[in-house]
Symmetry: C2
Subunit: 545 residues, 2 copies
């Protein structure tokens, strides 16, 4: 028997309609690519998104067509999110840090008909355009006065396009399972794979994101997403913020400590979100200058594991609560958030930070299990670790234009590729990527745990651990380290420090000091490159055992 409830589809356009009606004068403030600060309201963004939809319709874009973007976090990029998805087309966000060959691959694989680019990337597009046979038009995200000198002959000016259009547009209604957005994961091996989001998944994800046990943002909050809009839809923040009337503060290309601090102070930002690398820079800037952001209450850290020392620093030095979160492109991305369980507020610091440094508990909507090599569930004892699998309405069921996915079980679970533990309070902790675990003498060493321990050392800015072949133990860990500016520390001192944090047999014989670590397009260390460097002899230990 069916219930007798209205059959209303969960569409992304309903989020913007709600914001424009209920939170019409809340702002989206942008540090533009051109330089100045630009202020827009949700009502303004809604009108401009409708003008955009009219303009794209005139350009022949219809339901299901892909419109690609290479762009920073700005109100225009938010308008593209809503305008393109709202009209039933698919927004395809591209990471500008991809290798140009990969970038051409994803644009061609997606068969994007229109490419929208910030001024920063105009030169890149000029070079790339000959390899993009399917791209019909390039739209430069700027006004007439700032159109780049190297604009393509048939290139279009975003503000001109909008100015020519009416705000009179009615968002179409269609099946909520319709595709809305496309993001490619940049795997370390093989071609990038496309995750094709749906309206339903994105609306449900915005609900899940907004739950008190996840990342609730109030109307009175001001959110600055440092996480880029070209990376997993900025973790879904542009949707959750509009759903809740939260002010959005968009940093454009200004992601250094000084620019972020200035913008946060000016706009009284209360919550921000990004990867650990960004926060290393921001904390360093604050310590160096003595500047802080008094309005800032919460920092969401995701993308890779937040070292406990970073969580403690935000809390103890600056009184800012860290929400340690975990997810994946295939998960829209939110999977877990590490909030203190009710009643733990009064636990001692060690217990509290021990929990907060884990990846956290599943958000409602995400089912999660850890299993052994025979797919049998493992105990939730905080010790047993196994393959982490997830299931839920905002998790990918496959990849765009791929018939087969190795990561999807026949019974509907997605294998994250992570190895994890779960404890009896349902806190999940990533032990390692499956492929990064080190097997030494028949026992596992977690590269992540070893990296996090090393990063607690004040002289260490970044750390990465890889397994290297060893005759006696099969594999042994190698620790590559970037020192903080002006710090002096040697391998023995690091080993002595680590010996108090990890088991003796985990201590790396080889500790290598490097100028920088190889970083991929999403800000993560490329361990494949480290392994290759070790293999060809260009990475070798300063301190032997």
């Amino acid at each position: 028997m069916r219930g007798l409830m209205m059959d209303r589809p969960l569409l992304i356009s309903t989020i913007l309609d709600h914001a424009a009606s209920v939170f019409h004068d809340r702002e989206i403030v942008t540090r533009t690519v051109e330089g100045p600060i630009h202020r827009e309201t949700y009502a303004g963004v809604a009108n401009r998104s409708k003008q955009l939809a009219n303009a794209l319709t005139d350009l022949g874009i219809g339901q299901g067509d892909r419109v690609a973007t290479i762009a920073w976090n700005t109100n225009r990029h938010v308008e593209l999110y809503y305008g393109v998805s709202g009209m039933g087309a698919v927004i395809h966000t591209i990471n500008p840090r991809l290798h140009p060959a990969q970038m051409a691959f994803v644009i061609n694989h997606a068969e994007a008909r229109i490419l929208c680019v910030d001024l920063t990337f105009a030169p890149l597009v000029a070079k790339l355009i000959d390899q993009l046979p399917k791209v019909e038009r390039v739209i430069y995200l700027t006004d007439r006065a700032n159109m780049p000198a190297d604009a393509l002959d048939n290139g279009l000016c975003y503000e001109d396009l909008l100015a020519a259009q009416s705000t009179d547009y009615r968002w179409p209604e269609f099946d909520e399972n319709t595709a809305s957005a496309l993001c490619y994961t940049s795997g370390t091996t093989g071609d990038p794979k496309g995750v094709l989001y749906s309206h339903r998944a994105t609306v449900l994800h915005a609900f899940g994101f907004s739950l008190p046990s996840a990342v609730p943002m109030a109307e009175s909050d001001a959110m600055l997403p440092v996480v880029p809009q070209f990376h997993v839809l900025a973790w879904g923040i542009p949707y959750a913020a509009a759903m809740n009337g939260t002010k959005l503060v968009m940093p454009g290309p200004g992601l250094d400590g000084a620019s972020l601090t200035q913008l946060m102070r000016d706009e009284e930002v209360t919550i921000t979100a990004g990867v650990p690398t960004i926060w290393h820079g921001l904390l360093a800037h604050w310590r160096q200058t003595g500047e802080t952001v008094p309005s800032l209450k919460r920092v969401i850290i995701g993308g890779s594991a937040a070292p406990r020392s970073m969580i403690e620093a935000f809390q103890d030095e600056f009184g800012i609560t860290v929400l340690h979160a975990w997810g994946m492109t295939e998960m829209s991305p939110l999977g877990t958030v590490s909030l203190l369980k009710a009643g733990m507020e009064s636990a001692d610091a060690d217990k509290r930070f021990g929990k907060l440094a884990k990846q956290g508990r599943p958000v409602y909507g995400v089912e999660m299990k850890i299993v052994d090599e025979h797919d049998r569930p493992l105990p939730h004892d905080g010790t047993a670790f196994g393959a982490l699998k997830v299931r839920g309405p905002w998790i990918a069921s496959g990849y765009y234009r791929l018939d087969h996915s190795d990561n999807h079980d026949t019974d509907g679970w997605f294998d994250t590729g992570d190895v994890a533990t779960m404890d009896d309070d349902a806190y999940m902790q990533i032990t390692d990527r499956k492929k990064d675990l080190i097997k030494s003498g028949g026992e596992w060493i977690s590269s992540i745990d070893l990296e996090n321990a090393a990063m607690g050392h004040p002289a260490i800015a970044q750390a990465a651990v890889i397994g290297i072949p060893d005759e006696k133990w099969d594999e042994r860990p190698l620790l590559a380290v970037v020192k903080t500016a002006d710090a002096t520390v040697d391998a023995d001192a690091v080993r002595t420090y680590l010996s108090e944090k990890v088991a003796k047999w985990w201590l790396p014989e080889q500790i290598v000091f490097v100028e920088a670590l190889p970083i991929g397009a999403t800000g993560k260390v490329l361990k494949t490159k480290l392994r290759a460097a070790y293999a060809d002899g260009s990475l070798s230990g300063e301190g032997g055992a």
Copy 2:
């Protein structure tokens, strides 16, 4: 083009599964009908719901079958919510305050096969059972020791049923549009009409309820729903609480000020919800005894309009924030919540309470419009009023076993039967029920506004306004008033007081002091009875004009 996201249904059982896994030791505390306090955890309730599903399966209950309840707010009633809906059957909650003939009507109309009753209602059921040919078994919600003397011969004991069953049960998966629950609206005219909720609607409503702009409940909160589980699923609180790990405190039949205060104090309740009548009683108790509930931070007031004086009393006398909310059985029920718009925190008290006394702004998921008699949209200027219509995924599309609904437009909107204004901040205010508006000399008088103004008088406990025929003006208002205990006030004093609050031509010529107002099953004043009393001469004015 469809997105490539997992096709996972939104089922009520997933909420309980989540609570049992992530918030397993959070509690549901009940003041039982038998007397003692009973403590259960979400893990316990989940296990017991599974035992119940096994027991109902053994009794032959299958998908779509109706299982009726006449019961207070208790953990057992929560188990019925989850167990019955979780297995794919339909829980049909019945208001015990219905007239017995109406009660028989709804049970027979629903064709409920099983009836679950609290001990309080055993005598009622004994009297009624002969009129319920479809009811196969009655389950008494108690243990063996407390089975009532007048239990039916084939009556069953709830705790015995559960004890005989394993907790091993796997919630079935089915279409999310499957019916989950059935509540009848007790209209003042005609037969009650059944609203048939679906799993999808209930899960989405729990999401909407939990938004920061609605009624966010954290894991650390303790919620005492005074609103009964037999009334619109206790406003959906049992679902939203489990979704967020919020502790539930269930008052059973103890709804007087002293009992509520004691339970709130013992269980450190932080948030509660109910109709104005309850809060009149509670505020009176607090003022009389000097007792308060220090942990209590928020009170949700719905069901009928909260007088501004009540909102001010909670805030100014007790430091408790009122969330004034509005909804309907047909709306699951949440439609609007009156939270202060961002930036209004520093407005003067008059402005703030002026906004808070309105019914509030639509929750994301609910679309709302006010229209004139030709269905043309009216301006949102806070003055123009018209028929209030709503649309959304948790709003009824019709009524159970009725082919036609007068309240549903052909274009999918539901006519609430309310007349309302909307202002430029999207705050909706109910002017009146369409049928209660008074037309005097061609102009409208809002009975609700007049009642709220009267209730601001310290000597007035309750007030109701009806239109009475008038030769000159067509209709004039009559104000019926219940005095507070020991208060002395006369009609002239009330009129003088009102003359500072409303337009002169609104002042009622007839003000009648009564012992009590006729109250319907959902706690609302029955204006039909007042009108009838006026017509037969039993209600007449103490003070003429």
